[in-house]
Symmetry: C2
Subunit: 309 residues, 2 copies
């Protein structure tokens, strides 16, 4: 799957991923109204509005981008109907040729991590049949429990040719509270980064590992160090745009081959029509505003990478 | 909710929780056959078998115990039908008067953690209506992202009078890989434990905080240290039984008031009929075997606590 991701990035010239993290407050009134009219002000109504919103944005951007990253929490909060739309979104994006990174941040003891891996990137056996319940292409994983919590994901990954992004240094303001603590003279995130490189070593695609890492755009200097520690790991970089990261912060997340990083923007793309810059599109044309925001993001990163050369 | 949990523990004289972590391999043939006959060898069939299995065990044990802990991964691996049965299990246990600890180990950046908290222990607004999608009483939370990843759970907790157990020192063999690393002369898990005590300080029930911790039974010496660091935090102790923990390992997880800890056993209870000790019950009477295993566990912990006095 990492080979396919890289091929898609090269084909689109866009090392970016659109975060499909819909909040109801991002969804234009006319979309909400239509869904509520059909399903009521219910979990089903909210889920339908999310689905309509996602589909329009995917339709408007899928030729420009290699991948999407739905954040499962935004669906899970609407219970079963929300999770049904999560799965429907995964399917729809895959039909459109996009690679889907399920932002699930799961992680548990061995047998439990195995169940998560099975449900999200693997297949589960029931009697003589096998099912792939959520069938994402990549998932994000929390490393706090150590190797035996991560290994089951790696195993499923290798078997199914899927991919992982392990949390190393997250983009949020208090990520440093534990992740930056010094251990034998080096921060915890570097120790985690080293493990990511190890976990990924026997799980290689053509030039990069199936096992990647999450490192926030909001910490460019740490990205630079981690790039060296995990040379064969793709880095998923959240925190661009609404969280404060900019193109120029991103150059050190990439390798000299121009690969090695994929940058996520969520709110900045899917709620673009709410920004002054794209206000002229109006709520009616929210999906076109998202397309314009994708184009601007690609140009920003492209020019930052060119300048850095 | 912590007050209710303590009252239930005192009423049952049983500081234990039954882990409803069903794997298909635990479910007796006759239960599987019946579900597969009705729903086919499908996700629905698997989910129905889990539901029948859970219900029988809950019916057979609910008068003896204060709480259950369904592990959501075991449901999530069967996709939407699995998650429907997770929710149905939560509801059924609550109807039976049990407190439900959702073992979800979620944790993300602020707004995303807020969505998880809303979906699992809070209420989500849709237009003029509010829904509680999964409505557990407690959930487990992963602290790797630091305060702003945990705080939204604490906020919902306070508002809804629910509870949390934050992962501090997990029961698995490689939990030490990151959690035991020394930072300024003390292991990471102690620093996390200190944060748990802080997060819980402004979120107090009558004698204990709404914010508890997870500390594995497999590390009794660390339990002893953490008991002192978090005197007002209830400790959820996994790893008893199948993972190797015994009654005598548990005494230091408790405070001198005889409270402060609740011990989980999953496989040891729900798959008791597969153990030599309870084999005479036979697969037909798996739920009675679970009841016997609960009684033995209560007696084991009770005698260990009495001996320690």
């Amino acid at each position: 799957m990492i080979n396919r991701l890289i091929a898609k990035i090269q084909q689109t010239h866009a090392p970016i991923v659109v975060g499909l993290d819909p909040m109801l407050s991002y969804i234009p009134e006319h979309v909400l109204e239509k869904s509520f009219k059909e399903f009521g002000e219910t979990l089903e109504g909210a889920a339908d509005a999310i689905w309509q919103f996602n589909r329009a944005i995917v339709d408007a951007t899928c030729d420009l981008i290699p991948a999407v990253k739905p954040q499962i929490a935004m669906y899970e909060q609407f219970g079963i109907p929300g999770l049904e739309v999560f799965e429907r979104t995964v399917s729809y994006c895959q039909e459109k040729g996009l690679i889907v990174i399920g932002d699930i941040k799961r992680g548990d003891i061995g047998s439990t991590s195995a169940a998560y891996a099975t449900g999200h990137i693997g297949t589960v056996s029931v009697g003589g049949n096998a099912f792939a319940p959520f069938h994402e292409d990549f998932v994000t994983v929390n490393p706090y429990l150590g190797t035996d919590g991560v290994k089951p994901f790696v195993d499923v990954c290798r078997e199914e040719k899927k991919g992982l992004f392990i949390l190393v240094k997250t983009s949020n303001p208090s990520s440093g509270e534990f992740q930056d603590r010094q251990i034998e003279g080096r921060p915890l995130y570097e120790w985690v980064g080293e493990k990511v490189a190890q976990w990924g070593a026997d799980c290689m695609g053509d030039s990069y590992s199936y096992v990647g890492a999450v490192v926030g755009a909001t910490y460019p200097e740490m990205g630079k160090a981690l790039r060296r520690i995990m040379p064969k790991s793709y880095i998923l970089v959240p925190g661009y745009g609404a969280q404060g990261g900019q193109g120029k912060d991103l150059v050190h997340f990439f390798n000299e081959d121009g690969l090695g990083a994929i940058v996520n923007s969520s709110r900045g793309i899917i709620a673009a029509y709410k920004q002054e810059q794209y206000a002229s599109y109006g709520a009616e044309h929210f999906a076109e505003a998202s397309r314009a925001a994708v184009e601007a993001m690609i140009a920003d990163i492209d020019s930052a990478l060119k300048e850095a050369k």
